[in-house]
C-alpha cells in the first residue's frame, strides 16, 4: 500500500506541472497583451507596467515566478478587476461552487446508486427498462437544457422555488441548481451501478449467500453492494470533473456568484490571469481528487496495488 501511494503521489506531480505549463505558455503565446487598451500608452509607461508585472523578464523566469507564486497560493493579479487578485476572486467564488457541487455529488450518489440497484434487481423487466431509458435521457440532455426547463416549470409556472440567484444560500435557492447539476451524473451512476450489480449478482458467492437462506435484502445490501460499488468509486474522479464543468453553465444560468461564473466572465472579457488561475485551481483540484479516489480504490480493492 505504501509503495502504491508513493507511486501515485509521484504520478500526480508531473500531471499538475504539465497542466500549469500548458496553460501558462498558451496564455503567453496568445496574440495581444494585457495592456492593449483602446488608448495606446506611451513606451515609457508601458515599460514601467511591464516591469511592475515582471513581463520584461525571460519567459522561463516568468513561468518560474508564476509556479513559485502558486506554491504560496498566489495566483497573481486579475487583469479586469484591478482591485482584486485572482486568489481573492477564487476565495470568494469557490465556497459557493463547492456548496452546490457537494450537494449535487451527494444527490447524484444517493439517487444514482438507488436507481441502479433497483434496475439490477428487476433486470430485463419493465422497471429496469424504464429506469434505463430515463438514465439515457439524463445522459443525452445537457444540463444547460434541463436547467431552463426546470426554471420554467418550478419557478415560472408553479412559482414554488426562486428561479435564480443565491440569496442567503439556503436550500430553497440551492434546490434547482443542485438538481440540474446532478441529473446527468445520477444517470451515469445509475447505469454504472446497474451494470456492475447485475454482474455481481451472478457470481458464486451471491449464490452461496442465497443458498444459506439469507433474506434478499441482506444479500443485496450486505454482500452484493460493496463489490458492486467499486466502479462507482472509480467514477468519482470523472464525476467531479463533470460537476465542475457543469457548474460553469449552471452558475451562469441561475446567476450564482460562484467560481464558474467568474470563469465565464473572465473568458468573455479576456481576463487572462483569472482564466488561467481558475483552470490551474480546478485542474489541481481534479488531480488531487483523482489521487484520493485512486488511493481509496486501492484500500477497497487490494488487487490493484499489485499490478
Amino acid at each position: 500500500m505504501f509503495r502504491y501511494s508513493v507511486k501515485r503521489f509521484l504520478g500526480a506531480g508531473p500531471t499538475l506541472l504539465i497542466l500549469v505549463a500548458l496553460a501558462f505558455f498558451l496564455m503567453r503565446a496568445a496574440p495581444g497583451g494585457p495592456f492593449d487598451a483602446e488608448r495606446p500608452v506611451s513606451p515609457a509607461v508601458r515599460a514601467n507596467l511591464e516591469r511592475a508585472y515582471h513581463l520584461d523578464e525571460p519567459l522561463l523566469q516568468q513561468f518560474g515566478r508564476y509556479v513559485a507564486g502558486l506554491v504560496r497560493g498566489d495566483f497573481g493579479p486579475s487583469f479586469q478587476y484591478p482591485d482584486y487578485t485572482v486568489t481573492e476572486l477564487i476565495r470568494e467564488g469557490f465556497p459557493v461552487s463547492l456548496r452546490i457541487g457537494a450537494f449535487a455529488m451527494l444527490l447524484a450518489l444517493l439517487a444514482g446508486v438507488t436507481a441502479g440497484i433497483l434496475a439490477a434487481l428487476r433486470q430485463n423487466r419493465a422497471a429496469d427498462a424504464g429506469i434505463m431509458a430515463a438514465a439515457m435521457t439524463g445522459i443525452s440532455i445537457p444540463n444547460f437544457v434541463i436547467a431552463p426547463l426546470l426554471i420554467l416549470l418550478f419557478a415560472v409556472h408553479l412559482d414554488w422555488l426562486p428561479g435564480g440567484g443565491y440569496g442567503d444560500g439556503s436550500l430553497r435557492y440551492l434546490m434547482l441548481p443542485v438538481v440540474a447539476l446532478a441529473l446527468p451524473q445520477i444517470a451515469y451512476i445509475a447505469r454504472l451501478t446497474r451494470g456492475s450489480m447485475v454482474e455481481v449478482l451472478r457470481s458464486p458467492f451471491i449464490r452461496t449467500a442465497r443458498a444459506k437462506g439469507l433474506p434478499a435484502h441482506t444479500v443485496v445490501l450486505r454482500h452484493a453492494l460493496k463489490p458492486a460499488l467499486l466502479p462507482v468509486v472509480s467514477y468519482l474522479g470523472p464525476a467531479t470533473a463533470a460537476l465542475i464543468t457543469g457548474s460553469v453553465v449552471i452558475e451562469q444560468i441561475f446567476g450564482i456568484p460562484g467560481l464558474g461564473r467568474f470563469f465565464v466572465q473572465g473568458a468573455l472579457n479576456r481576463d487572462y490571469t483569472l482564466v488561467l488561475g481558475v483552470v490551474v485551481f480546478y485542474g489541481a483540484l481534479i488531480v488531487v481528487l483523482n489521487l484520493i479516489v485512486d488511493l481509496l480504490y486501492a484500500v477497497l480493492d487490494p488487487r490493484v496495488r499489485y499490478t
Binding site: M136, T137, P142, V145, I151, L152
Partner: protein, 300 residues
Amino acid sequence: MRGVTQTLPAAEPVEEVIGRGLWTDALARLRHNRAAMISLIVLVCVIVLVLLGPSASPYAYDDTNFDAISLPPSAGDAHYFGTDTLGRDLFVRTLIGGRLSLLVGLVATLVSLVIGVSYGATAGYFGGRVDHLMMRIVDILYAMPFLFLVILLLVFFGRNLLLMFVAIGAINWLDMARIVRGQTLSLRRREFVEAAVVGGVPPFTIIRRHIVPNLLGIVAVYVTLTIPQVMLVESFLSFLGLGVQEPMTSWGALVNEGARGMETTPWMLIFPALFLAATLFCFNFVGDGLRDALDPADRK
C-alpha cells in the same frame, strides 16, 4: 465391390452456403433492437431535415425583419417555429444550427478517430516499453481538465471554428486510444498477424492492413458514442458564448438565446432544445444498440 459403387447416389447439387459475416450478423441483431432502429430512423429524418429544410423556407438564417419580432410559431407565414428577437426565422435557424452542430460532431469525431486509432494501435502492437510509455502519457492526459484547456484556447486565440473542431477532437481521443490498444494487444498474437510478421511485412503496414480493419467493429461503436459527446461539448461552448459567432448559429447557441427569454418566448428555447436532445438521445441509443449487436457476449 460392384454393389458399393452402385449404391452411391448421384451427388446432389450442394446448396451454396452464404457465410454470415460479422456485419450481417450484427445488422440482423440490430434490426431486432426496436429502440435502436427507431433512433436510427429519427436520426436520418433529422439529418435530411437539416440538409433540405432550409431551402424549403422562404427565409434565410440571417434575414432580420423588424416587423416580425418574436412571433410565435405559425404555419400561415411559414414561420413554423416562430421568430427570434431580431425577427429571424427560427425554423431555418434551428436547421442551419443543426448543420453546424452535426458537422462539428462528425469532423471532431473524425479527428479523435484518427488520433485515437493510430495511437492505440501503435501502442498495442509494439507493446512492452513503448506501450507502457504511451499509456502513461494517456493516463496523465486523462487527469487534465481538457474542457477548460479548450476554453483557454478559444479565449486566447479567438473563436475560430477550425480551432474548435481540432481542439474538441483532440480531447476526445483518449477513450478511443485505450479501447483500440486493448483490442490490438489481443489481435497481435493471432496467427494471421504472425504470418504477416514472418512474411516480412513492415510493422506499420501490418497495423494498417491487418490490425486496423479488425478493429472496425469496436471503433464503429465508439464513433457513434463519441459523436454525441462531441456535440455536447460544442453546444456547451456555444452556450457559453465561446463557440460559433453570430449570425452563424448552432443548437447550443440557440438554446442559450432561448433560455434568456424563455418566459415570454418559450418557443425559442423549446425547438432547438428538442432537436439537440433528440439527436443526442438517438446517437446514444444507436451506439448502445450497435455495441450489443456487435458483441453479443456482453449482453446480460
